[in-house]
Symmetry: C3
Subunit: 677 residues, 3 copies
């Protein structure tokens, strides 16, 4: 089985831990859930020590009651396997289940997400628990979906992991010769002659100044891949145990958006549906969340995902935890739906009384009130979601623009000694995503292995590594008339981060029609100037010096010794008017906007409300399984926005109909969900 | 026996380590002591390796000579037990005496304050040494007081401490059920089923990003309490060994003022008198030292304390170690006396020739001169103290304002995930202390268990935890007509830092007449505006949104979405005009001043020179055992201050008499000690 | 044998690792070397795992081919012993060869410079390899010089090192009494009674906040000396193994200029010639490189050194790695020659394909082109060096100004608790070096043990420790009419960093004619004012308060409570007009310039182009073995500089002759090498 849980409307609810409370509190909870339109409860995420208080003792009394009560109240449950935090007795009985950190320190019992993924004891006991839960609740009427573990992450550097890593390498490379070549180990006298000589890359071996400074990128890249696979192995073992008893209920685990430690593209095929927890940083622009939503939607080829967690009000884990201002929760929730969410869930429904998350926002606070501002906003949103019903469920995004997202490139770029530690993968990826969204384009954020046929435009910023047949597939985009854009620090290495023995940008050279002769790097405060059409824009951090080999100069450096040379180029490629665009420096927003709009305009992909984007209006399209076209209009500004309807449609949330050409007014932080005709 | 050492005048002198020098240097020392009016020597603080050069060898030859010489010269000795730094042989013979740090690393021999408080070897050998010293010198004519160990502090995370901690917990909680409930351990699957499963909270268990980031505050709070008690246990063991031979000489250990690691309120009952080492930071306002003095005076119910250490000129341990400017030493010394010090001592009398404190200021420098600026100022102060004689000894401070100081709240506030890591306990406590002092009030800084009957005003800023019957006792203050003030982030947790299952501010709600609906947190650079009477003041960091439940709105937010709602409230409580004031945000100095003056003015507690405080004039009252009223006038400004005498009195330091209403001129950094008539 | 390799011209080339490549790449390499004028190859630096793939297997096949090919192409080889990075098998077979770091963590295999210097296994295997290489290639026609290991550095804190350290101490001190006295161990109860009690000073023993915060400076100083000697022992063992088979070829190892961890003055006698790797930081002024060159030249009593590495274009290891702009490589290379370099070599000739240095600049990039900007500049410089031929080889610098450089003082100053952590040794040393160079003086940077007879002026800034007979030798300089200048924080300690029991500046007091009564320290942002002749200049960080004892007041504080007291003094000393100058604070550049020019002017040592220095023109003299006088004129500015020739001479690089008094125009970044007549 594979796919999303079947629900009559957008599921609404969130993490719920009644096991922390006496049952009279449960009564109050369900009363308040009713008032807030909450129908879905995520249960059991950290229940291991409750469910298995000793090696040979399982106790499902409380969990039975929780699910029975949910069923009785007509609510559905996303049931967790409860394996994301060890019970104390397990850590004591098997000290090796505790992780050894990057500094080489074996930890003692504590926190959560604290298990060694290579530990046989953990594997055995976690799958046993998952299996027992599945057996017991597979046919429970409240059951809606399986939630394996929680927010997988972290890494372990223990000797069990070292051994597992060696096995993983042996499988990957077959021979030490192949490995020595891939890692370029002759450098610094590292030619391995036994598999056992290989150590995990840590602060005690190949690293200095932390995880991003490594002597051997090939080794460190492989350890990150191994870690991804090792944790995935834990997931798969639990999933298998669940499947044995519950073959039809969809299985997920909650991801964390742009989470660097794990390559979610390696995981995606193994989930029935994707889900994720959205906690945008304090000062993040709305496009940062949007990028994450689109990345998560890209995991399963554009299928909808679940918003598994968000805060109704405030986080607790940051140095400064501001409130979501009035209206922001609603706006963020509809933004998630606009980008493909088929569920809207919170962490958490009732605030914990103690421990480190007790200040984390909750639908129900410590006083249990229903007249707080937060509860009122949650309940209001509950009503809206109920009114929207099933309309958007299963809808897909009709994007003709793709943005390539590649964990390997992310890792390689940010662990690179030279040219600049100041270039951050997400910053540059966001630059191009933001510009495309500001121009009104729907964007699919896809892995480098994705089918590129659906796209007219492929944006590939800081695509540091070019692997497999990607260069050929990008050329194919241009050959059929499409446009491919890439940037500085792209195509610098192969899958092992070995330099191509060719002009930069290596295999993308023919498509781009340039060679990069050298690259300058400047401190954060130094600004270069670039002429771009009639405009002069700013550039920073890295300045590649480009020699056109067929390409046309679109932008020109105006400063430093490379003044007059190209900063942006475009290259005709193929017989059908396709183009390769190369941006040789980190342009400011105005520059990126100008380049991306020109690329999108070639294919008619700028949106009807692109001019309003600067003022904060985001648009996002979805097409439902029956072909209904939905257009979400989201006003991120604190002031009213007045648009002109580009087509006729009806706002699902208010019932108001807009004729094409009529004024369409968005309130501050307002949302309109147009069902187009 | 309990109480202060009996002396004919304010003892003057300080730490003295003649064991580092040949005896001809001792001659010079005593000559110079005579010139400086120095009569009191703290001896033997780090003498262990000298006194016990091997496990079975004690050698008191040098110490005998030091004490005999002191006696011969008519000087008195504060004799240390010498146990604050291990001798090398002990660390080698018993490696487990070396501490294991927060990172889980067992240390090797080094530094000082380096012993595991749970080590049986340390306990045995340190008490043996203390006992031998006490036996030998109990009746020495030079002996004035006992000085146990030195500046207790730090923590250990070894397995001995882990075991001791488990025993401490078992005693405190009785059962694991009680402990699981107190720590709210169901969160994150932490339900303990064996005492042995409990680990000290460290970087290897429950902590990340250092000691203030913990997954379980209940556990971390308890470890800090345990550490306090474990070190106190070391003190008590030594004290007992001393008492066996020396039942009548007062015992102390030197504290460090607002020292976060140890809850001195747990120690205070066990000291005969309090003493502390004052090293105010470079840029601290004079109220910071004053707060520390008042905190130390509060340890023993208002009894005088000893200033056990201060530098005559400069520290060495800071990145930048400025000189005390001319006059500053005198001013700081009299400030100590004004706040309750019955002794003025230095670290150190002669500068060390080597090791890390050789640049620390000393009365006698490396060249042994008596014509340095510093020596001249020390000698001048010596003369003044001799002239003041016994006048102020035993005097008490007639305060009607109390400020509650609570280590548990300090710890809980600063280890809290959310709402803001930027709120620091001491900053806010100092805000209110400073304002009260600037308004001319004498302030007792007292534990939350103190008898509150003597006070008209109780200030309880950021009282994060409310324990025991405190709420009732605060209500009692208002019931008899007094005023209680508390602030944002108060009454958020019980003794285990579990949230109250009630509106914020929990048990203080009835007294304050408000409920806090939610709380916003903003970055350091964001300033909110607040209307307070006719003034507009600034606010920062945390903005609680308050719903009055009976309280009157005194201050009003002018900015953000909560504009118009209360920022400051007051609530009539009880039949006698008592009030509860609630300040919902961190006001700037002007705002805090305005609030505190209004509170003090209700009770006639603003002082006669309050207007001069802004210009740097501090006043402080003491009443001697025979009822003489002393008023210290301290000018912290570099310019002259002209006051009008509020009462008739005579300056003890100059003999000048001031009639009430006459001008009273304070020199820059000047001091007047008025004996009022 | 001792001395420089004999070459017909300035050797040109650099590090070359053909073992990383198939042999067809070698063909391309040599073709490109020919085009660039490259004649010298540094080979085998990290070849251990290639040359000895297993404990009992040596394989010289590839190295044979590399050397044979070089010889066939007419190129010479600097042959490394290859011992700077362990092969994996060795680390696995002997885990104790891996270092234990300052945090007490035994490392696993990784990186380079990764061997414990006290490990018998490392010592045995590294010398065996060095011996085998020497035996095999001693008579190879390509062999030009021996290159032992590579960039020695780092430290180890393992138990083997602890034992070795104890042995080193026993030899140095003879008795624990002497050691206890030297380290002033009575402080903090540290009197050692067994050698075995002594621990290396680390984060687990005497240190906090890193390597510069120690409780016992004497111990930490000795551990740095021990580390210097331990690594030197590794060098000497390899050198001996090489010498056994190759008695006549010069031996070096590449230093790193102002590298704090190792006292190169202890090494210098053991090298046949000095060589170093120059990687000036991003924002360093040209005098920073010049200071390093002069320090390296001072290692062997003024003999020329080799520039063993520099980048042709960019580094990779820094956060921001800017390009050398056009012309900068040439200018930096000629600057090296101007200061005594007899070779100009690069790291690296061909860019590595993989691992952490793949972005490090190289003569030949990944694409193998000869038409890059960098290759063109390298080739152009190759032609110039060929034209200059042997002219400057063996030339010496005719300096009459010495600057004392002392690692012990550097260490002691920067590990000192008080008065200011903000004072950095190199900053102050550079202040005075820069000022002397800006005034046109050639400067020898020499150890404190150097013969001072050749010098009229001796600059001794922040000479924190004064050891041995140095004070007498400085007095001798003044006695014969010379000038000695020293500054604040000089002469504060003896060789163990024990304070002198005398007025500051201790043994320099008589020469300086002052005593320092006390010293103020201020935060970085606080500026003091100083009157110096007609000028008012700024001062920062440390302000010593000076009492003249015979000296004349040259500069005067204008601010703070010491306004009016001396900030700069000079003291007539001896019968021949000698002087001692004392600068009591850190003057700004203008102040330092003024003081240093006055000192130099007394002896006629300001240069003819001193006025042009402010505009960026550096001059440097060398005198060849046949007495030819060379004057290098280097324009560091980006604009043309017009001088007036001070003497008649011919530019060696262009053949142009300048008559005395004629205009002499330097291009932006231009170089003129005048052969004076």
């Amino acid at each position: 089985m594979s796919g999303l849980p079947e629900t009559p409307k957008i599921p609404y609810g969130g993490d719920y831990n009644p096991e922390q409370w006496p049952e009279e509190v449960w009564d109050a909870d369900h009363r308040l859930f009713g008032r807030a339109g909450i129908d879905t409860l995520t249960v059991g995420v950290f229940a291991w020590s409750l469910l298995q208080p000793a090696p040979d003792t399982y106790d499902f009394t409380v969990l039975d009651r929780i699910l029975d009560r949910a069923a009785a109240e007509g609510r559905r449950v996303v049931l967790a396997t409860g394996t994301a935090a060890l019970p104390p007795w397990l850590a004591r009985a098997h000290p090796e289940v505790n992780r050894t950190d990057f500094e080489g320190r074996r930890h003692g019992y504590g926190q959560r997400h604290n298990f060694c993924p290579s530990s046989p004891a953990y594997r055995r006991l976690s799958t046993a628990l998952a299996g027992r839960i599945a057996r017991r609740y597979a046919d429970h009427p409240a059951l809606l979906a399986w939630h394996i573990n929680n927010e997988y992450g972290g890494a372990c550097y223990c000797t069990l992991c070292a051994d597992a890593f060696r096995g993983w390498l042996r499988e990957r490379y077959g021979s030490l010769d192949a490995l020595n070549d891939a890692w370029w180990s002759t450098f610094w006298s590292h030619r391995y002659t036994e598999w056992a000589e290989i150590e995990p890359p840590s602060a005690l071996t190949e690293h200095w100044r932390g995880p991003d400074h490594t002597a051997f990128q090939g080794l460190t890249l492989d350890y990150r891949r191994f870690t991804t696979d090792a944790l995935l192995g834990c997931f798969l073992a639990e999933k298998e145990a669940v499947r044995e008893h519950s073959p039809h209920t969809p299985v997920t685990t909650n991801f964390m958006g742009m989470f660097r430690p794990l390559d979610y593209h390696r995981w995606a095929p193994h989930l029935d549906f994707a889900s994720w927890d959205s906690y945008p940083p304090l000062d993040a622009p709305p496009t940062r969340s949007a990028l994450a939503h689109d990345l998560m939607r890209g995991l399963k080829d554009g299928a909808p995902f679940w918003l598994m967690e968000q805060t109704p009000s405030t986080t607790a884990c940051r140095d400064v935890n501001p409130l979501r201002r009035p209206g922001e929760l609603r706006l963020a929730s509809w933004q998630a739906v606009a980008h493909g969410a088929d569920a809207v869930l919170y962490f958490q429904l009732r605030a914990s009384r103690g421990a480190c998350e007790k200040y984390h926002g909750a639908v129900i606070g410590h006083a249990g009130r229903d007249d707080t501002r937060v509860f009122r906003e949650v309940a209001e949103l509950g009503r809206e979601l109920a009114e929207a019903g099933a309309l958007s469920l299963g809808a897909r995004t009709p994007a003709r623009t793709a943005l390539l997202f590649d964990w390997d490139s992310w890792w390689a770029l940010e662990m690179s000694d030279g040219p600049s530690r100041l270039v951050k993968y997400l910053d540059v990826v966001h630059d191009y995503y933001r510009a495309a969204r500001a121009a009104g384009a729907d964007v699919d954020v896809v892995p480098v292995t994705a089918d590129l046929d659906p796209y007219d435009v492929v944006l590939a910023p800081v695509l540091h590594l070019v692997k497999g047949d990607l260069a050929a597939r990008l050329e194919a985009v241009a050959e059929r008339g499409g446009t491919v854009l890439t940037t500085f620090l792209s195509a610098r290495g192969d899958e092992h981060d070995r330099a191509f023995l060719a002009d930069v940008p290596g295999p993308l050279g023919p498509l781009m029609g340039v060679r990069v002769d050298e690259w300058d790097s400047r401190p954060a405060g130094v600004t270069g100037r670039v002429r771009l059409g009639a405009d002069e824009v700013a550039a920073r951090l890295v300045f590649e010096i480009v020699v056109p080999v067929g390409a046309e100069q679109v932008g020109t450096y105006l400063s430093d010794f490379y003044a007059g040379t190209p900063a942006v180029t475009r290259n005709r490629f193929g017989e059908r008017g396709g183009e390769g665009w190369y941006v040789a420096t980190r342009l400011d927003d105005a520059g990126t906007d100008e380049v991306v709009r020109r690329v999108l305009a070639r294919h008619g992909l700028t949106g009807p409300y692109a001019d309003a984007a600067a003022a904060g209006v985001e648009t996002s399209a979805r097409v439902t399984p029956d072909g209904t076209r939905l257009l979400f209009l989201l006003n991120h500004a604190g002031t009213e926005a007045t648009l002109t309807a580009h087509a006729t449609g009806t706002d699902v949330l208010t019932g108001k109909r807009y004729e094409k050409g009529e004024p369409l007014v968005l309130d501050p932080l307002g949302v309109v969900l147009l069902r187009l005709e």
